[in-house]
Assembly symmetry: C2
Homo-oligomer: 209 residues x 2
């Protein structure tokens, strides 16, 4: 496709490198910005320029922060004994949004994926094992993708964790039917797992934090 | 929602000002950029900084260009006698992509919309009427939205154009069933218009440019 100007082409190409944004949407976004004042567009550009400058990885849990140690790790009201392991910062933020979990986190930075060439060494696993050795952690919740790669990662981690501390409780987030769903639209694997991991109605007693 | 850092919040807010991008997508895009190198993000920022600097409105047709007069207006191979009036640059690019139209364009920069406070004076209409007075234009194709506002704009323009030159042919792009569609999924208004504006099969003779 021919673009009216080189500058427009550059912005369209920058947008279309983002996940889920095709050439058509990228063009629409660029033309939208063309209709905005240059001050507004410059503000956007400056926000981007500052993104990496003022954001670091938490030295403890690998979350994003503007300090060496993130607010969650510093929060003394949260339970240090329970650690939720997630793949990405987006997963952590999604769990935080529920307001339900009051423990601490560890962000792996991805999952083990031989196909994409990501092994345990590319992830923040050694730091996690260090924490297990040095902190008084009693439970590790694996809040990983319910995919083959997520399950491989959970399996690898649980073996490593148990070799350091066999008494630590390792749990997985529940797999099953999402809330508000009609069974007829659920895939077979989810449905069969939801039957396999069924819980008894009368004794149902969800874990509180 | 609480963001890990102020810089992340700023980028999320900049993204979520774009059309069709909600807070959730904005966060996903921002976290994606966090995983990219700062060079890549800076390139994106610089593309944005240059967007307004190197892009102007064509003095003739109001299209976007890096020169005073755009490439389409300068193209001597295109037919000067036929002018396609569109609302936005995106519409012009969509028509150009078909490769079917070989005339010139005029970009209004929007449509008459009393609800949004957009009257004829906010649009590039006086420039269009000037062109009609000064150039040898024989046909004006209104390629406007098939909405109430698009139709109001077409009605207003046709009155103005005819008061200057009653001999000019004014045409509207065809309204009807889009290609590849099943009739059962078409809304009633489109379907009734496609019946109203039906064409005789044997004498069907589409206009060539």
């Amino acid at each position: 496709m021919e673009f009216p100007t080189e500058s427009i082409k550059n912005v369209v190409e920058a947008f279309s490198k983002l996940p889920g944004i095709g050439k058509k949407t990228a063009l629409r976004l660029t033309l939208h910005l063309m209709q905005k004042s240059s001050i507004e567009v410059d503000n956007f550009a400056n926000a981007l320029l500052n993104l990496h400058k003022n954001t670091f990885r938490c030295k403890k849990c690998n979350h994003l922060s503007d300090q060496e140690i993130c607010n969650i790790c510093l929060d003394t009201k949260r339970d240090n004994k329970i650690l939720c392991v997630v793949e990405e910062v987006g997963d952590l933020l999604a769990i935080e949004k529920t307001g339900y979990f009051k423990g601490k986190y560890h962000v792996l930075g991805g999952k083990i994926s031989p196909l994409e060439g990501i092994g345990p060494n590319q992830l923040s696993i050694s730091k996690l094992l260090e924490r297990i050795q040095n902190e008084d952690i009693q439970e590790i919740i694996m809040a990983l993708s319910t995919t083959q790669e997520g399950e491989t990662t959970a399996f690898y981690l649980s073996k490593e964790i148990q070799s350091i501390n066999p008494d630590i409780v390792i749990s997985l987030i529940a797999k099953g039917i999402p809330s508000g769903a009609s069974l007829e639209f659920i895939d077979e694997l989810t449905l069969s797992k939801s039957l396999l991991y069924r819980s008894q109605y009368s004794t149902l007693n969800p874990q509180k934090f």
